[in-house]
């Protein structure tokens, strides 16, 4: 266990030292605050509290930004250390490969969770201090923060998998961009295209709930935008959320955290040095 903690501490210290923690927290806080004070204007007109409106706008943007930050943080976690030779030295110490992997992963997961909770939390506190807030709004915002942490971890796990598979840092960087584009942008476009062509009927129409859950970004969207009646009404995702059980999106996100991490471990434990 000592090995895991030392490795996690090393990762967190490196994150503080290279300003990763500050930069990620700052970006998320600024994004959330800007959206809060520019985007909450319609709150009064539609009769929703400020936090609820903010959940809609913030989750729509963080769905692009969080995966990008997470992939940038994690894509070279293994291949970077293998390429510059530090991995060789680490593994000559009394730590096993799983301890190195788990420690680094926990460190990166902690950095991202801190940035998300503090960044979004600051904005949430500022909104709560200046506007009307009800219990559902607080719940929706807490759900947003929790699911955003999970979404970040999904892409940290994906980054680790890429990092364990490839031999060069530049390949990992390219693949990370491709994965981001595929899961966050192209997947939804393809799904929309399919629905438009078939008019929502047929196989694709019936499979939409399952197809949404298969993509972590959509599972996150469903969790935040269709999960609560009031939020769903604003976001227009009420229809898409029909047919998806309430437990399904968080389970899908958890599976998306677990599967890439497990795959990364399977690859890393056999990786030649």
């Amino acid at each position: 266990m000592r090995g895991v903690l030392v490795m996690a501490g090393r990762e967190i210290r490196a994150g503080l030292r290279n300003r990763w923690v500050v930069a990620a927290t700052g970006v998320l806080a600024v994004l959330a605050l800007v959206l809060a004070f520019l985007g909450s204007a319609p709150a009064g007109e539609v009769g929703a509290d400020a936090l609820t409106v903010n959940v809609v706008s913030l989750s729509s943007l963080s769905i692009y930004l969080l995966p990008l930050i997470a992939l940038m943080l994690s894509y070279d976690a293994i291949v970077g250390e293998a390429e510059n030779g530090t991995l060789l030295l680490l593994l000559a110490y009394p730590v096993s490969r799983w301890q190195v992997l788990a420690g680094k992963l926990i460190g990166h997961a902690a950095i991202l969770a801190f940035a998300t909770v503090v960044g979004f939390g600051l904005a949430g506190a500022a909104i709560a201090a200046t506007g009307d807030v009800d219990a559902q709004g607080v719940y929706a915002f807490a759900l947003l923060i929790g699911s955003s942490v999970l979404l970040g971890w999904v892409f940290v796990g994906v980054g680790y998998l890429l990092s364990a598979v490839v031999r060069e840092r530049s390949t990992a960087a390219g693949l990370a961009i491709a994965v981001w584009l595929l899961l966050v942008v192209l997947y939804d476009l393809a799904l929309l295209g399919g629905l438009a062509v078939t008019g929502g009927s047929g196989l694709i129409g019936r499979l939409v709930p399952a197809l949404l859950l298969l993509n972590p970004a959509d599972a996150y969207r469903l969790l935040n935008l269709a999960g609560l009646p009031q939020v769903a009404a604003f976001s227009g995702l009420a229809a898409a959320g029909r047919g998806v059980a309430a437990w399904a999106p968080p389970v899908a996100l958890l599976a998306w955290v677990a599967v890439p991490v497990a795959a990364a471990w399977l690859v890393f434990r056999r990786r030649a040095l």
Binding site: G3, G9, R17, N18, N84, G85, T86, L88, L89, L273
Partner: protein, 307 residues
């Protein structure tokens, strides 16, 4: 050899059809300094990686500190192994002190120990600077410091003196001598043969994945059958040729001297014979035993094949 610190028997390593190591038999005892020599690609680094469990042997018997590398017990036993990789690198953003402390913690050692080691390699003043600002020599010193964490029983050093200035090299070898005195077994892979000559107990030479020789330096000299050269400066140039007629094979030198090529056990007879010559017949004598360079060239190059 069950008390051997390192024990390899019939070790092979294949990467597909490429044979990186073939039938390696090697053992090292407590407090022994074993030099591992060989050209690039001879298999030295692969051998070190197998000892550390970083890669598995394809075949054969490997024991390091009594454990089979790769097993959980062997992972734990790495607390008693120090390793300095070739071209050592550290996470660039961290300071020397942070690197040393983190690595000490990984070995379960107090951070105070890392401070003492930084001082020992002369890095205390630079300890607060990021490692990325270090020169190659400073990185190598930090590498040495981390290898010494936890007073290792076994030190594996891959090209350790690269980038060290002469003063630091002396310090480095002094540290090694001290560790040997305490019973630490040291395996050094190196190209700097002249340096190793003075410090090793035994020399192992690798070529093309095979161990072509492993013995003490005198043992290797006699196994290689390399001659000892005795250079004699005769007193009278004209008499030089006749002087050695019917004795040992002699070759004239450009400076008018004569070089005798003799077997290692003929040194004393030659000296006695020279001593018996009349006054003034010889003005100077020099004895040149084969250097590690020559022994290495014999065993590591293709010419040494079958030796």
């Amino acid at each position: 050899m069950s008390d051997a610190v390192i024990e390899l028997r019939g070790v092979e390593k294949h990467y597909g059809r490429f044979h990186a190591l073939r039938g390696i038999d090697l053992a090292a005892r407590d407090g022994e300094l074993l030099a591992l020599l060989g050209h690039n690609g001879a298999g030295k680094t692969t051998l070190l990686k197998i000892l550390l469990g970083l890669t598995g042997a394809s075949r054969g018997h490997v024991r390091v500190l009594g454990e089979r590398p790769g097993t959980p017990a062997a992972v734990a036993s790495r607390a008693r192994i120090g390793f300095l990789p070739e071209n050592v690198v550290f996470a660039g953003g961290m300071t020397g002190r942070e690197v040393a402390r983190t690595l000490a913690r990984l070995k379960g050692r107090p951070v105070a120990e890392s401070e003492a080691l930084l001082e020992r390699v002369g890095l205390t003043d630079a300890a607060a600077r990021p490692v990325r600002t270090y020169s190659k020599g400073m990185r190598q010193r930090l590498g040495l410091a981390q290898a010494l964490i936890g007073r290792p029983r076994l030190l594996l050093l891959d090209e350790p003196t690269t980038g060290l200035d002469p003063v630091l090299r002396r310090t480095f070898y002094a540290i090694l001598a001290e560790l040997r005195g305490e019973g630490t077994t040291i395996l050094v892979s190196s190209h700097v043969l002249a340096e190793m000559e003075l410090h090793t107990d035994r020399v192992a030479i690798m070529r093309g994945g095979e161990l072509t020789a492993c013995d003490t330096l005198p043992g290797l000299c006699s196994a290689a059958g390399l001659p000892v050269r005795v250079r004699v400066q005769p007193g009278d140039g004209a008499a030089a040729q006749c002087l050695f007629e019917g004795t040992w094979p002699a070759r004239r030198q450009a400076n008018g001297g004569v070089e005798l090529q003799i077997a290692a056990d003929e040194k004393m007879p030659v000296l006695r014979w020279l001593g018996g010559l009349p006054d003034g017949a010889v003005t100077d004598v020099g004895i040149h035993t084969p250097s590690l360079d020559e022994v290495y060239a014999h065993f590591a190059s293709a010419e040494g094949e079958g030796a």
